[in-house]
Symmetry: C2
Subunit: 281 residues, 2 copies
């Protein structure tokens, strides 16, 4: 039987031997709850299971996890028409020392947080971004996964907050464009949509997958490839994706500026038709 | 005023918003306590301060930290002639979200753990190691620092435990030899001592620094440089270092075998003279 802990209610629910605290030994998912239902559940579960396989963590199957989340949603004091669930899966408590036997029975934590919708201007007029100075390490053994090792995002996001920009874009140590601090990035050139490969670092977002699959379903394949500053400079349009906000146009990054073009509008309209109401502008 | 928390006494001392739990947003030091004194204190503090500077964390000055550790040692139930202190410095609790304003007043946690001395055979006959399959990411913005983002070490150490080897050596994603899962590595060729550069990944161990400084004080500079499998294969001797065990000879890694030679013996004798009693064989 897996233990579930409710975050936010008991301030001291986390045991002092918890490996997530000592080593970041675990994973998480941040799930948009809309009309009391978890959005893109299958995408979140797929990534979580891929992470559990990589880290040697045993968790219950998807239906059991979902039932438990639904109990949390029902019991929540938040407005569950529009809120955020965070599921944290960890290797639990242990003695001191990096190693453990694998697979390890996971501990699971659930937190529900109020939703914070973006203002319509963000979707209508786009958002400003900066280019972060901090670079992402290359060749991570957990590339693409959403682990609890997020110091790179703490550093890049804090850079961004200090400037007041909505988001910061990041390069890896080899000058490849990878993602935003809390989002994935897409660039449009001559109506073709491309997004960075996340084989070497970065987090493969659920909304990124939803965008790729939605466009693919329209016969417009997204090119997942290596991109760099030249590609960004030459782009006609740029947009970012994130599970909580859907897709948002980007009108600038530092000195580079872009229009909010037809392709971005089309992507947003498709998403709005396809379960991501925030993109309805 | 900085809060201090004592690990291990209260099982639930960690707040559910703690950023170390959510993001690994912090640093740690594992300090050998010998005769009730912290060994290599200045080296630990130097690395901790470098980490705090990088992560934008504010902590008390070294004398205040040391006095607090000494109180912990005095009040400990462990045999403080030979035990281990772990100091964890974190960004404390916050709302959900990667970013924070910097500098952040740190939260500090202290744990004292029983010491586990190695058997004399390890120092006399050397230890067996494996080469880990997991590679370390390259170009980390926190290379050399001992952050709480340690999934790479969880993966490599768990590989090692599964084989029963004493330690696992690790390459980075570019095939450079970097370190052990819980130690640093030195190779000896024609009496010259070399150790991998940690500019791109890895943790710069306090005992590694002590070895480099001790040998430097004898007019035998350690070459800190890029090393690879060819260097390992051609080595006359190999040894590892760690704050808790000092220096231990390595007699094999997978198919490569080495003698326990004069240089390793000399290093161990110098350390034994210089405060690391475990190396007295």
């Amino acid at each position: 039987m897996t233990d579930w802990y409710r975050l936010g209610e008991n301030q001291h629910v986390i045991e002092s031997g918890e490996r997530a605290f000592h080593y970041g030994d675990g994973l998480f998912e941040t799930i948009a709850i809309r009309d009391s239902e978890p959005r893109l559940w299958d995408h979140h579960i797929d990534r979580l299971l891929a992470g559990c396989k990589r880290l040697g963590l045993d968790i219950p199957r998807s239906p059991a996890l979902r039932r438990r989340l639904e109990v949390g949603i029902r019991e929540s004091d938040h407005n569950t028409d529009f809120c955020t669930a965070k599921i944290i899966v960890t290797a639990g408590s242990s003695q001191r020392g990096y190693g453990r036997s694998m697979p390890t029975q996971a501990a699971i934590y659930l937190g529900l947080y109020p939703g914070v919708p973006l203002k319509p201007q963000a979707y209508n007029n786009g958002v400003a971004t900066i280019m972060c100075e901090t670079r992402l390490a290359v060749g991570s053994p957990v590339a693409g996964l959403k682990t609890l090792n997020r110091i790179e995002q703490v550093l890049t996001r804090s850079e961004c907050l200090a400037t007041g920009a909505f988001e910061g874009l990041t390069y890896d140590a080899d000058d490849r464009l990878i993602c935003g601090t809390m989002s994935n990035v897409f660039i449009v050139k001559n109506n073709a949509v491309r997004t960075p490969s996340l084989e070497r670092c970065g987090v493969a977002g659920t909304m990124r997958r939803h965008v790729i699959e939605t466009l693919g379903g329209e016969g417009r394949d997204v090119d997942v490839t290596d991109l760099n500053e030249d590609d960004l400079a030459a782009a006609d349009e740029v947009f970012i994706s994130n599970s909580q906000i859907g897709v948002v146009p980007v009108h600038r990054c530092g000195g580079y500026k872009w229009v909010i073009g037809n392709t971005t509008r089309e992507v947003m309209a498709l998403l709005a038709k396809n379960g991501v109401n925030e993109c309805r502008v």
